[in-house]
């Protein structure tokens, strides 16, 4: 069963996406901060990470940088999934080799599933969107 780690601090969102992913036989595990994420990555070995940017005091970009630097985690595809729309953030995510950048507000659960499946299948992310 495919496992996805959702680094996100809004419980309603976690519930929504977790349930929708279940219908696709995908297991969505949630982590609310980087410490929890580290722990879950070790324990669950997710196939993909969905990463929010504004996480309480933490910045999702820092987590992205850290994960992409660590040899153990750098191969896990990471999709930035946020409502924080800022050109600099988008560019930085790209330069830190995130696999995709999705705006939550523009993405329904169905669309998210399609994009996640595409990334898992190794297709090129749609970086030119914005």
């Amino acid at each position: 069963m495919t496992k996805i780690l959702f680094i996100e601090d809004d419980r309603d969102q976690i519930f929504l996406f977790k349930k929708r992913f279940e219908l696709e036989q995908i297991d969505l595990i949630a982590a609310e901060n980087s410490a929890e994420a580290d722990q879950k990555i070790l324990a669950e070995k997710p196939d993909l990470i969905l990463l929010d940017i504004l996480l309480g005091r933490e910045n999702g970009l820092d987590i992205l940088e850290k994960l992409k630097k660590k040899p153990k985690t750098q191969k896990i595809p990471i999709v930035v999934f946020t409502n924080y729309e800022k050109k600099e953030v988008r560019n930085r995510a790209q330069s830190l080799s995130a696999n995709d950048f999705l705006l939550k507000i523009e993405t329904t659960p169905d669309q998210l599933i399609n994009r996640v499946k595409a990334v898992l299948a190794g297709k090129n992310p749609n970086w030119t969107a914005k």
Binding site: D9, D10, R11, D12, Q13, F15, L16, F17, K19, R20, L23, E32, N33, L54, G56, R57, N83, Y84, E85, K86, L103, K104, I105, T108, P109, D110
Partner: protein, 588 residues
């Protein structure tokens, strides 16, 4: 200056006489003064003043602005220049026809100088030009001068002994009358304006004093020298030439004000060039003069020019530097504001989108029919999530609108809907509204007994209620049920309303809790827009970071302040001090 220069006039017929006979036409020290009669002080009273006038005219023309003050300055300087020149000529020309001709110019320029100086003063004080009719009236003061000049009424006789025209008493009287009327008009102007603007600005007062000084010196020397000559104390008009110091003095004040206010954009380079030229010209005079006394005078002038020039250049330098640093500061502030605004928009849109994401996600499941693939309980949970987010959106929109309103300073808390408010009653009401939440969370709530009744405060109840509600809500939200679960100690919130014992102009609302506390680093930013303390973010995902900003703005608007004492893990004490009567703030 308009009077004869000899106590014993000798009558000559102009038709038969071309040159005045009594001068010994010897070349004196200086080409401009070919006779022994002309006083040496002429170098000092006229020539430097004329050079300065020319340079100033040049500067005014170069920095020409279509403002009345600019035009008046040019006219006044030109009038002064012509007056000085004409006076120099009358001292030196011995041809009667020429002197008679030049004397008519005197008739205009003398009073014109006075009229223009008054005009300048008036416009500077009121910062607006005269109406057309007023200008006409001012100009009409010159009309009798025209009659005097074109007819014989101004001239009593030609004094060939002194080589001057002797004016009629009518003419002299009229000239003094004009001067006195203008001085009185200046005093009246100042009086009227001081009623309108209190206190009257220093610059305006300064120019009025300069005008007064100008009149005093001008008329003073003229009258004294006339008196002395007419009464036979002396036969020399040297004292009269001192009257010419008055105009440069007036202009020194004026130029100082111009540089100070930078009204005409005089630049550093121009001032430097002007003073360099002036310095060289005045310095060059030393070479022409053989008389020791005059040389000393010129050297003194030279040194004064040097010092004044240096002071003025330094002043302009300082002014420009101040302006530059002020601009830089403003620029930095603007950039910061712009950044804050951008940040506000980015964060506000994030705050709005997050709840919408859930609402949209749930609705998309409903539209596609996929919601039916879930159990009833799960479906119920989806609906709840969407409902929660709708409520949250509602609050965020209200908060953002409030925050925007407060940051645009559009709210004047003291303007409308104000009343006297009993903060204790207000707090009791707010706490009662939260009764259910406090009980559900299992917290202990205590309100200190009243004791001495706190005075009521003046303000808008709906805003004060919003602010205090926000603080109580935070206290409940961030205080865990158990302070020490093992020992069975529950979390607790205290509230106290009391007049500040040390600063009796304030009523303090103290809200104390045994909550998680605020990290020390976060306290200074607690009331910033969109700021949330680190541990608050970790424990509570709800909250948009606008609540405390709104609280701060409301309390500030009521002339109050907030103090925060906090220790992580122990609790927080918020002391909100509200001014009893913000309207009488100045009296405290």
């Amino acid at each position: 200056m308009f009077l004869n220069r000899s106590p014993k006039p000798v009558y000559y017929n102009l038709i038969f006489m071309e040159d005045c006979l009594f001068y010994e036409l010897t070349k004196d020290d200086f080409w401009l003064v070919p006779n022994n009669y002309a006083p040496k002080v002429l170098y000092y009273s006229h020539i430097p003043g004329m050079i300065v006038a020319l340079l100033l005219i040049f500067l005014f023309v170069k920095n020409y602005k279509k403002k009345p003050l600019s035009i008046i300055s040019i006219l006044l300087l030109s009038a002064f220049f012509i007056l000085s020149l004409v006076d120099l000529l009358t001292w030196n020309i011995v041809n009667m026809h020429w002197i008679s001709f030049i004397w008519t110019i005197f008739y205009y320029i003398g009073p014109s100088t006075f009229i223009l100086a008054y005009y300048l003063l008036h416009v500077f004080i009121w910062q607006k030009d005269f109406y057309f009719q007023q200008k006409l009236l001012l100009l009409s003061l010159l009309l009798p001068e025209l009659i005097f000049a074109l007819s014989r009424h101004g001239v009593a006789f030609f004094d060939a002994h002194a080589c001057v025209i002797k004016e009629t008493d009518w003419f002299s009287a009229y000239f003094y009358l004009v001067c006195i009327v203008l001085v009185l008009a200046a005093i009246y102007d100042y009086y009227c304006f001081s009623k309108k603007e209190t206190p009257i600005s220093k610059k305006k007062s300064l120019l009025v004093w300069a005008f007064g000084l100008f009149g005093l010196i001008y008329l003073g020397f003229d009258l004294v020298s006339t008196y002395l000559v007419n009464n036979g104390f002396t036969n020399n008009f040297v004292l009269d030439t001192y009257a010419y110091f008055s105009i440069p003095i007036f202009f020194a004040f004026w130029v100082y004000l111009i540089v100070k206010t930078n009204e005409f954009g005089f630049r550093l380079q121009e001032t430097k060039v002007m003073f360099a030229v002036l310095f060289i010209v005045v310095g060059a005079l030393i070479l022409f003069i053989k008389n020791t006394d005059d040389r000393i005078m010129i050297i003194i002038t030279w040194l004064i020019t040097l010092v004044l020039g240096m002071i003025m250049i330094e002043k302009i330098k300082q002014g420009e530097e101040q302006k530059r640093s002020k601009l830089e500061l403003l620029n930095r502030e603007l950039k910061k504001l712009d950044q804050t605004k951008d940040e506000f928009i980015t964060l506000a849109s994030h705050q709005l989108r997050s709840p919408l994401t859930v609402i949209k996600g749930v609705s998309s499941l409903m539209v596609s029919g996929k919601i039916n693939d879930f159990s009833k309980i799960e479906q119920q949970r989806f609906h709840e999530a969407a409902w929660n987010k709708c409520r949250k959106l509602e609050i965020i929109i209200a908060d953002i609108l409030n925050a925007a309103k407060f940051s645009n300073k559009k709210v004047d808390f003291m303007n409308t809907r104000t009343e006297w408010i009993d903060l204790r009653i207000l707090m009791e009401k707010i706490v009662a509204d939260f009764g259910y939440e406090i009980e559900e969370k299992g917290l202990i709530f205590e309100m200190e007994p009243e004791g001495i009744m706190a005075p009521r405060v003046f303000g808008q109840i709906r805003y004060l209620m919003e602010a205090l509600t926000n603080l109580i809500h935070n206290a409940i939200k961030y205080t865990p049920t158990w302070q020490d679960e093992k020992a069975g100690v529950r979390g607790k919130i205290w509230v106290d309303v009391r007049q500040d014992p040390k600063q009796p102009q304030y009523v303090n609302v103290v809200i104390k809790d045994t909550g998680m506390g605020i990290p020390e680093n976060d306290v200074p930013h607690l009331f910033d827009k969109f700021f949330r303390a680190e541990n608050a973010r970790m424990s509570q995902t709800e909250g948009n970071g606008l609540g405390l900003y709104i609280v701060k703005e409301i309390i500030k608007g009521h002339g109050g302040k907030i103090q925060v004492k906090s220790q992580v893990g122990k609790g927080t004490t918020m002391v909100v001090s509200v001014l009893i009567d913000p309207m009488s703030k100045a009296n405290i």
